[in-house]
Amino acid sequence: MANMRSSPLAHALATLHPEWIDVAGMPLAATLRDDHSGRSDKLGVCDLSGLPRVGVKGPGAAAWLAARGVPVPDQPNTWTLLEGGGVVARLARTEFLVEDGFGGRIAARLAPELKPGTTGVYPVPRQDCALALTGTVVNELLVQTCNVDFASQARDACIVTLTLMVGVSVTVLRQTFAGRDCWRLWCDGTSGPYLWETLTGIAAELGGGPVGLKSAFPDARFQNLQ
Amino acid sequence: MPYQLLRFAFASKHPEPRMFRAPERLKDTYDAVIIGAGGHGLASAYYLARDHGMTNVAVLERGYIGGGNTGRNTTIIRSNYLTPEGVAFYDQSVRLWQDLSQDFDLNLFYATRGHFTLAHTDSAVRTMRWRAEVNQHFGVNSELVGPEEVRKAAPQIDITCGGHAPILGALYHAPGAIARHDAVAWGYGRGADQRGVEIHQQTEVLGIEVQGGKVTGVRTTRGNISTPRVLSAVAGFTPRVTNMVGLRTPIYIHPLQAMVTEPMKPWLDPILVSGSLHVYVSQSARGELVMGASLDPYELHATRSTLDFVEGLAAHMLDMFPFLSNARVNRQWAGMADMTPDFAPIMGTTPVEGFYLDAGWGTWGFKATPVCGKTMSWTVANGRDHELIKGFNLSRFERYELTGEKGAASVGH
């Protein structure tokens, strides 16, 4: 199974001279040639598409998750922390996105259990382009690309925002991921290359750019994902 | 200098009479009442008086002459439609247009510029060929041309449109023209007025009397009138008027916006339309770029402007003409477009005897002004649909016999 998966951004990343690292069977960029030190502190755009992820929707979805010990957010468009640094995001009312952090195995464990056939619990195949935005000028990138006032969102409210960013449907939330405060972004994988190109282009103008996992998350331990 | 201007210099008083009288009160009875003193209403009045001798006619207008879509459109005139009905109809219109200034003795600045509908996809190329073939079949000057022809007519254009929408071809319609929109209403208004038609501005219709399925009169803010014939030519206000006679129609109202730049020296001769980029543009005689895009996305009976309209249109304009970055947009505005499911108008007789409809003009009413006047006046005078508008009768919907102009008008112009 090793390296059978590829990121929606594989083609784009390959042009940036990456050093690859395997994340749950998907090569992601650990480092990029031009990712100079400090870029991720200013404004980094990092591909996290490889993280194990599972989606479920339907009137029975919340109960199904709860029965498996997953902390279910009780309000629409909020998220809770998952053991191991992942998230459980409630998308609108009855749909959930469960994603493992670098230290988690929950989404990976849920995936095979989620089979069609249970009324009211419907699997949602997740093939996201998943990003992390890091650094001090992230907000400038957000206000140039999205008409939502993210800066005013209270951190402890754990808000999930489903919105359009440069014309693409995205899910956005802010979390401390692998020890780092960042904005997380998910979109359909087929829109990923466009979103990536647009965000990294603007980020470059703002003194940042694409970054590898090791510079975005220097404190993270990646070995248990391989 | 033309001799017509000499008299201005040598007259002690401005030698021009009123173009239209301002009758103090409504008469009790008219042979026909036309609602709406826009181009269509006034053209109908003009031809009713001139061609059919019906002069005891009142044109009622809640605002002022030409203040609706006549004065808000981007003045493009063409006849390269998709359906036989459409082509024949608009071809007649263009023929009338070409002599209208002389007919009125009023310069409408009718300027033949050539009209290109750009195709950026192979399916658009197919549609353009379809239109060209239908046009040629009916003798309308229209052809499918390659990108090099576009470049010849507008050498400044970026033929790749910013690299993401390359122009693969275009439907070229040499007779495509623009005109001074307000003057069209004034010309028809003056001509109708001179022939005895009364134009009542600031006169709003409150109701239409119908007895036994027949029109008998009109109630207005300035009194009641009895009349056996009412023609509604009110574009975006059509549903309000049809509601007065209990008529249901497929018409729905969406705003259509436009914008104009500051004047610049002439550089763009043809009229360019791009369906993919949602742009149509021409340069007016004053040097402004007059631009429009697609319909607003939802129903609204108001002429408010939106910022996203100018943003989107400006972005697409720069795709085509990157050097316009420094040009400035001066003004934006909107009209209310009366849309139909098949993008063709609704004209002629209705189930209510004596109630005639000239509606569903969506985004293409201006170009039809003369022929609408011609055919609607004939229809009102004769009580049955003129040959050219038979395909546009309201009844086509319940017969499921729609007129498929949708392909031709997807961008509005």
Partner: protein
């Protein structure tokens, strides 16, 4: 000779940084902080431009962004407003719309032809003889237009941004500053903008010889700086007001789209010109323009001035001028009673004659510069008494006769305005929720009152938004004396008393227009074009209203105003366009296609390979080769752009039966079925394949362009039906590729343990299995007419599978094929493409889809309409045809017409040369009575050539369908 003054307190120029520039070819020097107009005026240049119609010389009028007669150009930057545009080093400025520069303009002879060119003259001539009009049009076009485009100018991409605040204050004069302070102190997040290079408004330049205002400004700046929640943005234009407090803020670099929760309009007023003969000659200017020259740019506007006034501001301006060494020849006050305040005394004390009840009858120019003004008594009605005019030599004339509100944003917000005869100005009457006005736009002029009014607005806005501010009673005193004169207009038999400087309209034009029947404000505007020039009526609309009111015997309030549409000042296209985003989607195989030389085409938001290019080979040949590979061996195409939907739940079958025309409830798991979707009028809108994976689990495809709308509509139907189903749009989650050709099975067999035999996995069946280690859904399809497997896999494993298939296919010379080859292959098979072989009105029966429409179901979308249309019968039918003669040169193309007896009888929807069949085949709509197999018909090809075709049955290729069922 320089008229630059010694340093003036509060000046905006930086005398340490000089800027060299040229104007009409001559070199000048200004300072950072100057505008072209201020620098040129300082250098003694007074003809800064020419008027639009008569090419009269024009100088400074407002210094406030209305001086459109002094528009300039430098390089690619056109139509720069010389009165406000920041001067930059090395600008090579030229005056727009002149022949040979502003001072030597060869078109100035037009001024003498004014009599021939009354209002609307162009409607009255040039159309006869008709043949000459194009010539005249060219002349007109050359004469009009302002700046000149540089076609080599680059595409400027400016980043736009969004911003959010509680209270936006537009205008940083005394009232706006106080409003911002009040709202800010209440805790609101405030944005304060001002279009001027620096904040302060009238505090900075309407000084009346005192520094009091300037000191107040310094205090306010300091107070605001202490509030971190207040953002002060100078040189920032609030360009318009859009729904729900959505305001574009435009600065030199970008447009910021600000969402405010409340908006305070403190935009002040525009000073209005007086109308008298030659009120446009260089040297005649608004009093505020002279004050701006003095205090912003330290430029002495003139040496000797006549001040025409009708308010206290004129007297203050006179004091300002005197304080900087300008001699005042006289003050003419239109009001018989003069100025009631102490200002009169202050002016008289220094020996300036004050002529009460006097007007300027005319101004006089020599060599394009004011040399004298003739004053005479004027009656209360505005009639000049010309019996004993007095002439004053002067090189400057100040007009201080009144103001008009800068209320464009208020109008756009939906405010209603009323004419207040107390101030002779339109003031807000009713404001929409969350919109406030204060200061002069609100009819409040006295400095203390403006401050109070600003504080009131700021406090009210904060309170509305729920900030905890104690309610207070504000008392803003009414003005005791009107700051505007109701009739600052003087007729003159020789005219040239301008009302609109943009459009060169003088008083008589308005009378003439009204005489012709254009006597309501909208018609007057359209006929005269008053207010339609680049300054959008800022200095002309109010006088036009006053003139029309007098003509009609009405009050200005009864005449009303015209709509003030965006923009407040023109906005560059680059700012509006921003970066220009172009959304597109890519399948996960995009990189692979690129590597294989794909030539891309757009398919909705997607990019798809049209074919795979090879150096030196023509497209047509490549497409044929790709098709041949499929027919003879094996090919592979990325079909991942198809819409892909998962449908779960006990009612899934019932749901599909309602949205598609076929039956699905009885489908066995492991099978697929073709599906057609109609709209409510019975028109074919989409098609695809429905596969049943399990009792409660279907998986189906839609067309590439239809996926988003189909998914959306399915969701909507279910929001109404409330069936127990879950719909998931899995378009992006699955990749899909079609492996097709006689060797497809052989290739696939290498990668899967699934029994691929025809018995175990027959045509139209569905199987789930691992292929190359990837969990896959495989469907036996026949779109291209060969043995074919459409393989759907999770998107992240698409690349792996593609590589494996290409590897495995190597020995069979597997060939990737693009959309173009697929179109040919499917045509040979007679399969239609929705949108190409159908159009916006096609009913299923017309497209030969009767077989797929099951009328014996309880309900499906469009069913009832099909029922109705069937009674009428089809208007046309889609048939297969082949050309009788072989010859590519005359072959018709798609959308060529079928012609019968000279009438249109249909059209070609698809046509191609088929190598396989050795002939042209196609699909065409024809009249219903032309469908008999074997019957000939004619197609009109390019150049009018009539080409004979013959109706043939479809499929053209492999009619028995043996190829797609081939057993190895």
């Amino acid at each position: 000779m320089s008229s630059r003054l010694p340093p003036v307190t509060g000046e905006w120029i930086d005398r340490s940084r000089g800027l060299d520039f040229t104007f009409d070819g001559k070199a000048y020097r200004g300072w950072v902080g100057d505008t072209p107009a201020s620098a040129l005026w300082a250098a003694g240049v007074h003809v800064l431009g020419r008027s639009f119609k008569y090419h009269r010389p024009r100088g400074v009028l407002s210094m406030a962004n209305h001086d459109v007669n002094t528009m300039m150009q430098t390089g690619a930057r056109l139509n720069l407003r010389a009165d406000v545009e920041p001067l930059e080093a090395a600008m090579a400025l030229t005056s727009v719309n002149t022949a040979g520069g502003a001072s030597g303009d060869r078109l100035r002879f037009l001024n003498a032809l004014g009599g021939f060119l009354p209002v609307g003259f162009y409607y009255k001539a040039f159309h006869r003889p008709k043949a000459l009009f194009p010539f005249w049009e060219r002349v007109f076009r050359r004469m009009t237009g302002l700046g000149t485009l540089d076609f080599n100018a680059p595409h400027i991409r400016t980043p736009k941004r969004y911003d959010f605040c509680d209270v936006l204050v537009v205008g940083a004069g005394p009232s706006g500053l106080h409003a911002a302070l009040a709202a800010g102190r209440a805790g609101a997040k405030v944005v304060l903008v001002d279009e001027n290079a620096r904040i302060g408004g009238s505090l900075g330049y309407q000084r009346g010889g005192s520094v009091e205002g300037l000191e107040m400004l310094r205090d306010l700046e300091r107070d605001l700086a202490e509030l971190p929640n207040v953002s002060v943005r100078a040189a920032t234009l609030a360009a318009g007001y859009y729904a729900d407090h959505w305001i574009p803020l435009v600065d030199a670099k970008r447009m910021t789209k600000l969402r405010a929760r409340a908006v305070i309009c403190a935009g002040g007023v525009f000073e209005q010109p007086a109308v008298f003969r030659n009120n446009d000659v260089p040297g005649v200017m608004l009093a505020s323009a002279a004050q701006r020259l003095l205090y912003r740019y330290a430029v002495k506007p003139m040496d000797k001035a006549v001040v025409l006034t009708a308010n206290a501001d004129g007297y203050r301006a006179a004091l300002d001028l005197m304080a900087h060494g300008v001699a005042i020849a006289a003050v003419a006050d239109l009001r018989a009673e003069g100025e009631p305040s102490a200002l009169t005394m202050r002016v008289k004390q220094v020996g300036i004659p004050v002529l009460k009840g006097h007007c300027v009858l005319e101004a006089e120019a020599v060599d394009d510069r004011l040399v004298a003004a003739t004053l005479c008594p004027v009656s209360a009605e505005g009639r000049p008494d010309t019996a004993s005019p007095q002439k004053f030599a002067c090189d400057g004339l100040l007009m201080s006769v009144g103001w008009a509100p800068a209320a464009a944003l208020l109008y756009q917000a939906g405010a209603s305005m009323r004419y207040d005869a107390g101030v002779h100005q339109f003031v807000p009457e009713r404001l929409p929720e969350g919109v406030f006005a204060c200061g002069r736009v609100n009819g409040v002029y006295t400095l203390d009152s403006k401050c109070e009014d600003g504080e009131r607005a700021g406090t009210e806005a904060a309170r509305l938004l729920g900030f905890d501010v104690p309610a207070r009673n504000f008392s803003v005193a009414a003005e005791r004396v009107a700051p505007s004169h109701p009739w600052p207009i003087v007729d003159h038999p020789a005219g040239k008393n301008f009302v609109d400087f943009d459009e060169d309209l003088h008083l008589r034009d308005f009378h003439n227009a009204a005489q012709e029947g254009f006597d309501n404000i909208e018609l007057l505007k359209r006929y005269t074009t008053v207010g339609m020039g680049p300054s959008q009526g800022k200095h002309s609309n109010m006088n036009a209203i006053r003139i029309l009111a007098r003509i009609r015997g009405k009050s200005p309030g009864e005449v009303g105003t015209t709509t003030a549409r965006p923009f407040f000042h023109p906005v560059p296209m680059s700012h509006l366009a921003g970066r220009g985003f172009n959304v597109h989607r890519e399948t996960p195989l995009h990189g692979r296609h690129d590597g294989l030389g794909a030539v891309w085409m757009q398919a909705g938001v997607w990019l798809r390979p049209e074919y795979y290019g090879q150096p030196g080979k023509r497209k047509a040949d490549i497409v044929r080769e790709e098709a041949r590979a499929v027919r003879e061996s094996v090919g592979i195409i990325d079909v991942g752009t198809l819409g892909k939907m998962e449908l779960y739940g006990p009612d899934a079958g019932a749901f599909l039966e309602r949205v598609y025309t076929a039956k699905f409830a009885g489908m066995k798991p492991g099978t697929t079925r073709y599906a057609v979707m109609l709209d409510e009028s019975g028109v074919v809108i989409d098609d695809g394949v429905v596969a049943r994976l399990a009792d409660q689990h279907f998986y189906f495809t839609t067309t590439t362009t239809g996926s988003t709308t189909v998914y959306r509509e399915l969701q909507r139907w279910n929001a109404q039906w409330n069936l127990e189903v879950g719909i998931v749009n899995a378009t992006g989650a699955f990749a899909a590729m079609n492996l097709a050709g006689p060797k497809a099975r052989a290739v696939l067999r290498k990668l899967t343990t699934l029994d691929l035999s025809n018995e175990a996995f027959p045509y139209l069946a569905l199987r789930e299995a691992d292929v190359a280690g990837v969990p896959a859904r495989l469907m036996r399809v026949g779109f291209v007419g060969e043995l074919g497997y459409e393989i759907h896999v999770p998107a992240d494993r698409a690349g792996h599978l593609w590589d494996a298939l290409m590897d495995a296919g190597g020995e069979y010379a597997i060939r990737p094929f693009g959309v173009e080859a697929q179109r040919l292959l499917r045509l040979e098979k007679g399969h239609i493409i929705i949108g190409q072989d159908t159009d916006g009105l096609t009913q299923p029966d017309e497209a030969g889809l009767e077989w797929a429409v099951k009328m014996d179901k309880a309900f499906f979308v469009g069913q009832r309409s099909v029922d109705i249309v069937r009674k009428r019968g089809p208007r046309q039918k889609l048939v297969g045809f082949e050309l009788d003669a072989i010859g590519a040169s005359t072959a018709p193309r798609e959308c060529h017409l079928v012609v019968r007896n000279g009438a249109i009888a249909g059209r070609v929807t698809s046509i191609a040369w088929s190598d396989t069949l050795g002939k042209h085949v196609g699909l065409a709509f024809v009249a219903p009575d032309m469908t008999e197999v074997g019957s000939p018909f004619f197609i009109r090809a390019d150049g009018g050539t009539m080409v004979q075709a013959r109706v043939v049955p479809t499929p053209f290729y492999d009619a028995e369908g043996l190829r797609q069922k081939v057993v190895d």
